[in-house]
Homo-oligomer: 496 residues x 2
């Protein structure tokens, strides 16, 4: 089997997986929890980043920590690489099984094990969908704060892997700020527990470094999350602008004024058109940008904050500032924002690539102009919907994946936009991770010594690099030696 | 020199350090920045935890990252252990030079390098005293949020090493929540930068794992910290209680009611007596406990929050609820809290040992009763002043260090209290770290597999364990092999 995987053409992945592997996995989880056919495995060849594809040799659905341990141990004996997968909503190829091997799909570990309102934590399995937890907490007046736009599909385990953000990250922080502890199955089959319900635990902050490690340390099998009381009240405004600069300057000015909004989200004209075509919210089709501005907290004082935001928007030439005067109107605004990605199909392109860069907030006008220029240069459709308050941009490059020239132009434009983010003092990912897509940027952001110590850190947990090889760090080694380079690159070229 | 250090009696440390070492260090930092006499080195034999003492062979004061690099490289060549020290306010022996060697005192790296209000960060050298930064920020209406009681003396570098808390941790979080990045000199002399002013950086969250690593990864040479806007207003109340249970139940009830106070600090009767004897604040000497309750934020709505806290205190039989009606009155209350430790001398004991445990907030009544019983059992004076809102207790055991029997009783009582914290679902340190004092508790809190991976993590940065040997983890090895056990234990026994 190890020869099959080392084959640079990954031809084996088109063949049936070796019977030995299938039988081992079926013995652990039962035949109904193992996928082996070509059609089934093709479903798992990529995630939301469709420009890198590698078929796993087998897909396994464990239902307990013990089963994950048994799978990992079997992989070790069989010298197979393995990696975890949540809902596959990653946008940077984090779920691509580089080097083939065993894809450990956690979607069937979906139980909420405990909800403890008094001590404000919950314990969940990694496959619990983000919004399920918030739904389960509704009767108690609590929620789970990180709310990615994909929260209706993405899993808490996946959120932990990529340290996901969301619209309310601006006030409430990203995933790492809400994870109290994790249970981790190490690549050697040992199980460790880091953190837990008590906030102050001694020892190294392993929880913090595991969150965002993109599966390169092991498989998270249980998660202790912090619960957040629902705000007493909200004020949600929609600023309508005739220029992108006015919109981004408004955002920078609101933060500069010392207001800490719960969210500051921006949609550009093309995005407004798509959302409007799908949902008919009544957004002004001729506006250059709209900004959703939300403050939350105690009712007392909240209107004053909202009034200040409105005044700032107007001072920056907002054409109009609409107010969500009911909970239904607020829900509608957020539906527009969160389902924006789902409406892109309306714009007439079969594929899109969502980029994820960060710039200092004050550089938003510059990067938005750069994105526009780059789109024109490469004759690409680009629209924008993003966490403006965090300086976390999401230009969406639209194309037809079947046209190699368009794919090439998307890759080139993406690269230029991300390089510009670095030049402006930002970074190449705000919340989607490095995955396989952005590995080449790591040496631009870190010194060789920085990267050397990241690899050493990974080796502390994952010495053979059999767990999630070819992810995050621009290094080969161990199980993935050879594949990292040989298999992601051909996949990209194949798409081209 | 390496023989000298391996000597179990540490006798060398009473002799003059080898000329070779002194000359190397003087060549790097100048003679005026090297301490070599017995008297000078004796000052650095311990920190706030006086029950473990080991004299360093030499104390060196670098003034730049380059000098730290040169010192570390020289130590490596000379096969000498080394460790960083801030102000020495650690209460768990974190600054004790286990195994002798070179103590790298960072107190002269005390420059605030940059204050950037717009992007809300500052860059400081590790020797900057915590309160200096907040003082420097006053004109801008900002502060550095973590405020240990020792903030007038402790350094930001030391805060990073132990992940310090403080009274306002309850609302604002501990040090790790306010550190954006660090520059770290590794034990091999390489320098890496983790994080920085941009919040979203890809790669592993090395900053998070370095904060709280107690110098076991390397020497932090520069720190990027987050700045926090000053609250618009405060309400500070003092609840006076005739029973400890009423006071702790009030605390639990305030949090349970969904209020997020800025601080909830408790002083018991003995502590009140000491504070009163020193400062004459007018605290009621016959009360069993007082609780400082503070809310902060926007003026609007704040009084309502304060009123709710007062009502909860009264519902739990507070005899009286005093209000700080002016900024001067508020400052006085905080002076009482923050200088409480300094007043313990009034109670007539020459030494005290401040313990640091954590329990779930709802278990506070139990642990307070246990502390009282344990004090009686061992005939020790014990007083309490602590971060009640966090469940972070600080029983202060008072004794005479010259009396071996008293020392023995203090150690036994400390051990029992901390073991009880674990039994109640808590931990043996909230903010002071493991240091040398609490190493023996680590196997009670972590499985062998957990500890195995902590050691592997340390080895990723500090493979020879020459940097801060004998700290945090119950393992010998490398530079410290032999000393870890041989030198801290005799030091304790010597004190006994």
């Amino acid at each position: 089997m190890s020869q099959t995987i080392t084959s640079p053409s990954n031809s084996a992945a088109t063949e049936a997986p070796p019977q030995q592997v299938v039988e081992r996995m079926q013995a652990i989880v039962g035949a109904e929890n193992v996928l082996t056919t070509l059609a089934d495995r093709t479903v798992y060849e990529c995630d939301g980043y469709t420009l890198a594809k590698t078929r796993p040799d087998v897909v396994v659905f464990p239902q307990s920590t013990e089963q994950i341990v048994a799978i990992v141990r079997a992989c070790r004996e069989l010298n197979l690489p393995f990696l975890p997968r949540g809902a596959g909503t990653s946008l940077a190829g984090g779920c691509v099984p580089v080097g083939g091997g065993v894809l450990i799909a956690l979607a069937r570990m979906k139980r909420i094990l405990e909800i403890n309102i008094r001590d404000r934590y919950a314990v969940v399995e990694p496959g619990v969908v983000n919004v399920w937890l918030t739904n389960a907490l509704k009767p108690f007046g609590y929620h789970y704060a990180p709310d990615p736009s994909s929260q209706g599909a993405c899993t808490i385990g996946g959120n932990v892997a990529t340290n996901s953000g969301g619209p309310h990250t601006l006030k409430y922080g990203v995933t790492v700020n809400h994870i109290l502890g994790v249970e981790l199955v190490l690549p050697d089959g040992r199980v460790i527990t880091c953190g837990g319900p008590v906030e102050d635990t001694p020892g190294y902050d392993l929880t913090g470094v595991i969150v965002g490690s993109e599966g390169t340390f092991g498989i998270v099998s249980k998660v202790w999350v912090r619960l957040t009381p629902n705000p007493q009240a909200y004020r949600t405004l929609l600023g309508v602008f005739d220029s992108i600069d006015d919109a981004t300057n408004t955002i920078s000015a609101i933060i500069g004024a010392g207001i800490i909004p719960a969210a500051l989200e921006m949609l550009d004209r093309t995005m407004i058109r798509a959302v409007e075509a799908a949902f008919h919210f009544g957004f002004p089709l001729d506006a250059e940008a709209v900004v959703i501005m939300e403050v939350d907290g105690l009712e007392a004082g909240l209107q004053e904050e909202a009034d200040r935001m409105e005044a700032i928007a107007r001072a920056h030439h907002a054409r109009e500032v609409r107010k969500a005067s009911t909970e239904a109107e607020r829900a509608l605004l957020w539906k527009a924002r969160k389902q924006a990605f789902g409406t892109i199909g309306r714009l007439g392109y079969p594929s899109y690539c969502t980029q994820d860069g960060v710039v200092p907030r004050t550089r938003l006008p510059e990067i938005m102009r750069f994105i526009l220029t780059t789109a024109q240069k490469y004759h690409l459709g680009i629209c924008n919907v993003f966490h403006a308050g965090d300086g976390n941009i999401h230009p969406i490059l639209m194309f037809d994946e079947r046209d190699p020239d368009q794919v090439q132009r998307v890759l080139a434009a993406s690269h230029e936009i991300l390089a510009e983010c670095i030049r402006l003092g930002g970074s190449v990912t705000g919340e989607h991770g490095i995955g396989v897509e952005k590995i080449d940027f790591m040496p631009l952001m870190f010194t060789p010594d920085d990267l050397h110590y990241m690899v050493r850190l990974r080796s502390a947990f994952n010495p053979q690099n059999c767990c999630s090889p070819g992810k995050m760090l621009p290094t080969a080694g161990g199980c993935a030696e050879g594949h990292t380079v040989l298999q992601t690159k051909p996949a990209r070229r194949a798409a081209v």
